[in-house]
């Protein structure tokens, strides 16, 4: 199904690349965009552009940031003895929203998934290992989705961090298998952070 404009077709194809968005939804989105005033649409385009052009990743933790260091890493009142490792910044946001964690974070940028071509080298794992060696954390919390990839990544990191002296804990218990952190309700997620347990092989 093609429109009479190449420009419209290109926009449909671009929007249809979002997860969960098919060609029909993409078409509706284009129809919507064409009806909106030009400044609004350009602002939207600029917001997307800046994601790639202006966004930095925090040099300490790998979180999305507008500056070299993110606000959490710069905050002197955070507990620098507790490190929480998450897959993506959306998980960090979910944990932050529970107000149950006052330590600092490390964002891997994904989970180990050879099926998708993602091994440890594709993630911020070397920087994590280096950071834990150097900073002498009392506790490293592994907070991943209860999926196969989350489980593999957790095992991998727990092994790699075993002899660093830090306590290795995980929060996955209490969240049902297959559940995603960012969709868990705040109370449940907050409780599992408080009730985190020693990782056992």
């Amino acid at each position: 199904m093609e429109s009479s404009s190449r420009i419209v077709d290109d926009a449909i194809q671009a929007l249809a690349s979002f997860p969960g968005v098919g060609r029909r939804t993409a078409l509706r989105m284009v129809v919507h965009l064409l009806r909106r005033p030009e400044p609004e649409v350009l602002q939207m385009a600029q917001a997307l552009e800046r994601l790639k052009k202006d966004l930095c990743l925090c040099r300490e933790c790998g979180n999305v940031s507008d500056q070299e260091l993110c606000p959490i890493c710069m905050n002197p009142s955070r507990n620098r003895k507790e490190l929480c490792v998450v897959a993506d910044f959306s998980d960090q946001m979910a944990i932050e929203a529970t107000s149950q964690f006052r330590g600092i974070y490390h964002i891997l940028g994904g989970l180990i998934a050879p099926v998708d071509g993602i091994g440890p080298d594709e993630l911020n794992i070397a920087s994590l290992l280096h950071r834990v060696q150097k900073e002498h954390f009392e506790e490293v919390i592994l907070a991943f989705n209860a999926t196969a990839e989350g489980d593999t990544t957790m095992f991998y990191l727990a092994r790699k961090l075993r002899d660093t002296g830090a306590r290795i804990t995980n929060i996955s218990r209490g969240i049902s298998v297959g559940a995603e952190l960012e969709y868990a309700d705040e109370a449940t997620l907050g409780r599992s952070i408080l009730n985190r347990t020693e990782y056992s092989f």
Binding site: G20, V21, G22, R24, T25, I112, A113, P114, V115, G117, G119, P120, A148, E149, D151, T152, T153, F155, Y156, R159, K160, S176, G178, F201
Partner: protein
């Protein structure tokens, strides 16, 4: 458990179709291409969350539509159950039982059981080992909750391991990465072996007596489960073959290679069996599957007979029909190109029957 009503929406060639079945024998006739097989497959789908014939959902969608929906109303004695499966072209399929959606698709599997007998079943004998594993998996997952859990667990690990082995291109890798992937495969692999082994202990006697009935005791047929795990447990297998797996770029040992050897008087069926013996063998596997479900779940599965005259000779088909009419089975759905043939063969006093005729476009005529 019986299927009272079946609604199809955009499923294969059926835009909208409703069928009201009787608890006994239901004959569905119509020309080739009318979508008879699709009706049986829909009943299979409602129990197994996937097609018997197609691995993927996309080909099941009616041409030009972007979803299909299956709805079945079942009865278990006094209680009615409604199962609705909705499969969109984009996004996740959902399954609802009495209006409530399952959290995971696999949570539904095991509630309903079906036994399908179709012309291409002969592939169980002629096809590769994956055909026979598919039969084992289909049977066990409909009967045992934990089996499917272990299978999914193992499959996820195996896929990751094979992807890693491929990406390595023969080079050795971080042993911790292997360990991280394998630590899920090991308990699951051992458990699958144990469950399959127990399954054959139970299933083989059912099979042997079914074959004896079908062949009038002319020869002795049997099943022999073959697995890498017979001699070694999963961790040992992985440890011993990891270096070789890296070179081969795939996992060379494990329950994903399991097979079943079919024998006739102790000889391999594939080599020594006649056409007739092979057909009897396949029928006996299905009869045993039926009895296994009755024993495991305490309810008769729905029997789905697709175009049985197609690959079975008239005598054997007639014998099967007599068996079907005997009342040992529960609800049965039969398709055939000739309405009269089924009507003639299915006639026993007191047996409930209903017949449906489809036109070439899949519309109901009667």
């Amino acid at each position: 458990m019986e299927l009272l009503r079946l609604h199809l929406l955009n499923y294969r060639n059926h835009e909208v179709l409703t069928l009201e079945f009787c608890p006994g024998v239901n004959g569905i006739s119509g020309p080739n291409g009318a979508g008879k097989t699709g009706i049986l497959d829909a009943v299979h789908y409602l129990a197994n969350c996937k097609s018997y014939f197609n691995g993927m959902d996309a080909p099941l969608m009616r041409h030009g539509s972007d979803f299909f929906t299956l709805r079945g109303i079942y009865t278990t004695g006094s209680k009615e159950e409604e199962i609705v499966i909705h499969v969109p072209a984009q996004g996740k399929k959902t399954i609802k039982r009495n209006g409530k959606a399952y959290e995971r698709v696999m949570d539904h599997i095991g509630l309903l059981q079906t036994v399908m007998i179709a012309p291409n079943d002969i592939e169980l004998v002629w096809g590769g080992s994956e055909e026979r594993r598919r039969f084992i998996d289909l049977t066990l997952s409909q009967a045992l909750r934990e089996y499917l859990e272990e299978l999914v667990q193992y499959k996820q690990g195996l896929d990751q391991r094979n992807a890693l082995l491929k990406a390595l291109k023969g080079k050795p890798s971080d042993p911790v990465l292997f360990e991280a992937i394998e630590h899920r495969m090991v308990p699951a692999g051992n458990k699958i072996y144990q469950l399959r082994k127990d399954f054959f202990t139970q299933f083989t006697p059912y099979f042997e007596s079914a074959y004896e009935r079908i062949s009038n005791g002319m020869e002795h047929a049997s099943l022999h489960y073959v697995s890498d795990l017979e001699s070694k447990e999963m961790q040992e297998l992985l440890d011993e073959h990891r270096a070789k797996d890296v070179v081969m770029e795939r996992s060379t040992r494990g329950p994903h290679r399991d097979d079943v050897l079919f024998t006739l008087n102790g000889h391999p069926l594939k080599r020594y069996g006649s056409q007739g013996q092979i057909k009897s063998f396949v029928l006996a596997l299905k009869a045993a599957q039926f009895n296994y479900f009755v024993q495991q779940k305490g309810q008769k599965p729905i029997l789905l007979l697709d175009d049985i005259y197609e690959k079975i000779d008239e005598d054997r088909a007639q014998a099967l029909m007599q068996l079907v009419s005997s009342g040992d089975f529960g609800q049965i759905l039969i398709t055939d190109t000739h309405a009269e043939r089924v009507k003639q063969h299915v006639n026993a006093p007191g047996l409930k029957t209903r017949f449906f005729t489809l036109d070439r476009n899949g519309n109901m005529l009667t």
